[in-house]
């Protein structure tokens, strides 16, 4: 029966509760933050509108995650997309926001179209929209249709999650939205797409062959690389964070893809571990990406710019924001003893476990995945060193950065809550890991294996975060004390930075963000296709009066993948213009003739 009210049903099983936790953990600090962020910029009426929009957005995400019925799922999904569109174009005077919103709307509806097709196929075979009924009738679906169904679901959820090559909307939409909306979108909304993938593609359809998992892993690797490479070159701090979100989605999909391959090979314990590692990274990423976006928003509010090349020296002017951003950057680079390290370690170990357990070529494949993850981690660390180093350290590069001041208390509180969250996630990793395994068990199935003696035991190696962090802390303190003991009290004198005798260092002498990423731009030029333009105005052969240097990279996906498609559409539309007379009479005439034609047709037959 296709009616909305009959088809609303909820289920609160562990997976749904976990994703509700993810959504809450990002949304509440963002809402607290938004109080300080919005006042002073917007009028009270607009603040009311945006806050109610945000609350509706959060509730719709919760509805997507809790629904037990495909129709209700799609309805909530569409509501979520539409509300987030309105939030993205909230700054409608800025034409960039409107453009970004348009791209976002089109891409999300392309994804929803694929999802709708998949749901309709499932309904056709099952006769109902309910999850459990559909799950029971999946074996009836022929194999080719099942592959097509999986592909549709992958494309549909991948568009929303930001999987390459469907990620193009992310770097447009996330920077333009207000910062607390960006943090909720990046922290929660793209994870809701992964929830859909986990629930429907894995939980309902099941994994008949290893090729699905291998396909997902390949896509994940591509996503990781593309995301982090473009993040390394970005000047706009929020676009950098958006590309970094794309990279982290790739990392999560590495864990989930490994789980899929293991499930298809009946290694259910290892699959559960891999899936749980992916889920842990979902939670971690939500927290530290939310924190980073809120930090970027604070910088934007204080300096009025999102350009890294205009910032600098903010650590002395905005110490709290800098400290929070540093913690977020450390976490996202996966450095111990913070939570990013825990989930990256877990994914490494589960990939290694898969490599050990599976035969032959898959062994090599999984270790190659580990290598790709290692490259990604290295590049992510480089990216965030650049973001924090160029953005916050040394001298201010513009007058606005010089005049920046610390942000109000509610914004600091929002960021502070997330920072505390990072700490909690790092230290309580063991307890959380048991919870994750319980949640993952619901997806992967298999018999329940007792989780170990209270420590994270994976492929022979344990991760005991309190011990490691404790030892690190002890050594840090001991080191300081020993140096103090050996060398006596500190003798420090403030002086100028070494300037090679040029008498006076300005911000122009500092390394810029573009310069920092130049080695990457050159080494990976096969991907970035950088183009350089140099303009010299000479007064004579020896004297150059002005020098202009422009370097740009070609956005590969936009130019070679999407631009041809869009151009094709326009060409077809131009051809179809022949039918468009512009005359009302002709249009009505079309309808009249059709009407008469139908009558005559019925008469004749």
């Amino acid at each position: 029966m296709i009616g909305l009210w009959e088809n609303i049903s909820f289920c609160f099983d562990p997976l749904a509760v976990f994703f509700l936790l993810v959504i809450t953990v990002v949304s509440i600090p963002s809402l607290i933050y938004s109080y300080g962020y919005l006042t002073g910029h917007y009028s009270r009426a607009r603040i009311f509108v945006i806050t109610s929009g945000t609350v509706l957005f959060i509730l719709s995400m919760a509805a997507v995650v809790c629904s037990a019925n495909l129709l209700a799922f799609l309805f909530a999904w569409e509501l979520m997309s539409l509300v987030s569109y309105f939030l993205v174009v909230f700054d409608h005077e800025n034409h960039q926001s409107v453009d970004a919103g348009l791209i976002y709307l089109i891409m999300t509806h392309v994804g929803t179209a694929f999802l709708l097709a998949a749901v309709l196929i499932m309904y056709h075979y099952a006769g109902s929209f309910d999850f459990s009924v559909v799950r029971n009738t999946i074996p009836l679906i022929p194999a080719a249709t099942r592959h097509m169904l999986f592909l549709f679901l992958l494309i549909g959820f991948g568009t929303k999650a930001g999987v390459v090559p469907l990620h193009v909307w992310l770097p447009y939409a996330h920077p333009q939205a207000p910062s607390h909306i960006s943090s909720i979108m990046s922290g929660a909304m793209i994870k809701v797409a992964l929830y859909g993938f986990l629930r429907i593609a894995i939980g309902i359809i099941g994994i008949p062959s290893a090729w699905w998992g291998i396909g997902v892993l390949s896509v994940a690797v591509g996503t990781c690389f593309v995301g982090i490479m473009y993040a390394l070159l970005e000047r706009d701090i929020k676009r950098l964070l958006a590309y970094s979100s794309v990279e982290n989605i790739g990392v999560i999909l590495l864990g989930i893809g490994a789980a899929m391959v293991l499930m298809s090979k009946q290694q259910y314990v290892l699959a559960e571990i891999a899936c749980a590692a992916g889920l842990f990274h979902i939670l971690n990423h939500a927290v530290f990406k939310g924190l980073l976006f809120l930090g970027a928003g604070s910088v934007y509010k204080a300096t009025g710019t999102r350009d890294l090349e205009r910032m600098g020296g903010l650590i002395k002017r905005m110490p709290w924001t800098a400290a929070f951003f540093l913690v977020g950057a450390l976490a996202i680079a996966g450095l111990p003893p913070l939570n990013g390290f825990v989930s990256e370690w877990l994914i490494f170990q589960s990939l290694f476990g898969a490599a050990s357990a599976l035969p032959g070529a898959l062994k090599i494949f999984f270790v190659f995945m580990m290598v790709c993850l290692a490259v990604t981690c290295g590049l992510a660390a480089a990216c965030f060193v650049r973001a924090f180093g160029v953005g916050f350290l040394a001298l201010p590069r513009s007058s606005r950065a010089e005049q920046a001041s610390e942000v109000p208390l509610s914004m600091k509180m929002g960021m502070g809550i997330l920072t505390v969250g990072i700490g909690i996630l790092a230290f309580c990793a063991t307890g959380l890991w048991h919870a994750m395994r319980f949640v993952a068990h619901g997806i992967t199935g298999g018999e329940i294996v007792p989780a170990g003696t209270g420590e994270l035991l994976l492929s022979g190696t344990i991760l005991n975060m309190p011990v490691i962090a404790g030892i690190f802390g002890v050594i840090l303190v001991l080191g300081y004390c020993m140096v103090r003991l050996i060398a006596g009290p500190e003798k420090v004198r403030r002086g100028a930075t070494w300037d090679c005798g040029y008498y006076g260092l300005t911000s122009r002498n500092e390394y810029t963000a573009t310069a920092f990423s130049k080695p990457f731009r050159i080494a990976f030029s096969f991907f970035f296709l950088p183009q350089r333009r140099v303009e010299k105005l000479r007064e004579s052969y020896y004297h150059v009066s002005s020098f202009k240097y422009e370097v740009r990279t070609i956005p590969v996906f936009k130019q070679y993948f999407y631009a041809p498609i869009v151009k094709g559409f326009f060409v077809v539309a131009q051809r179809m213009k022949i039918f468009q007379m512009g005359s009302v009479h002709w249009y009505l005439g079309y309808i009249l003739f059709m009407f008469i034609g139908v009558i005559i047709f019925v008469l004749v037959h």
């Binding site: 468009q580 009302v584 009249l592």
Partner: protein, 211 residues
């Protein structure tokens, strides 16, 4: 008796097709609606249903009194000239209308073989009205005829539904009436503004707006 009313309705529908003047068109429409209301009253009397009575009364109020009054006031305000602007001359239009009546009678005969002849005649009248409404929307230039054509189509659909089924649910009828009323008012506002901007309401000249 009902047959007489139905015949009257058809006559006035044909008269809508052959007029050359705007005011005549509106007058024909008014009389056509009046006969439609009489048909509906006759149905109500036959079935002794108070709801159908109310619907017929509403028909009188809105389509016989209200809308034509509004349209004449609008036309006085716009101050357009009388000629209707034809794409097809009245004789040819009448021939087309009669051909369509014939086709619809074949159609009706095929559809309603064993039914009450009253229903067949109602079907024919309704389809004729429907076609004529469509026709004047397509083949007349001025924008006012679009409104009148739409209303005539709506008359035809109403009669069709009343004849073949037992009539639509009461609330639906009420809703449709109010919808139509509001629609006409809004379209009237549009016409006023189009006239203000372009100083004419000839729809075929609006093709200059094509992008």
């Amino acid at each position: 008796m009902i047959y007489a009313f139905l015949l009257g309705m058809m006559m006035f529908a044909y008269s809508m097709v052959i007029t050359r003047r705007v005011t005549a068109l509106i007058r024909s429409f008014r009389l056509q609606s009046l006969f439609l209301a009489l048909v509906t009253f006759a149905f109500a009397y036959r079935e002794k249903s108070i709801e159908v009575c109310i619907v017929a009364g509403l028909l009188v109020v809105i389509k016989v009194v209200g809308i034509p009054y509004y349209l004449t006031r609008l036309l006085k305000g716009i101050k357009i000239d009388e000629p209707l602007g034809l794409f097809m001359n009245p004789l040819l239009s009448l021939v087309m209308a009669i051909i369509f009546t014939f086709v619809s009678s074949l159609f009706g005969a095929m559809l309603l073989r064993h039914q009450d002849p009253l229903i067949l005649v109602s079907l024919i009248a309704a389809m004729t009205t429907l076609f004529i409404g469509f026709f004047i929307m397509v083949f007349r230039i001025k924008a006012v005829t679009q409104i009148v054509g739409l209303l005539t189509m709506e008359n035809g659909i109403f009669l069709l539904a009343a004849a073949i089924t037992d009539g639509m649910p009461f609330f639906v009828e009420i809703a449709i009436f109010f919808d139509v009323f509001v629609c006409v008012i809004i379209t009237g506002i549009f016409l006023y503004r189009i006239n203000r901007l372009f100083t004419h309401i000839e729809v075929n000249r609006l093709t200059e707006l094509r992008g």
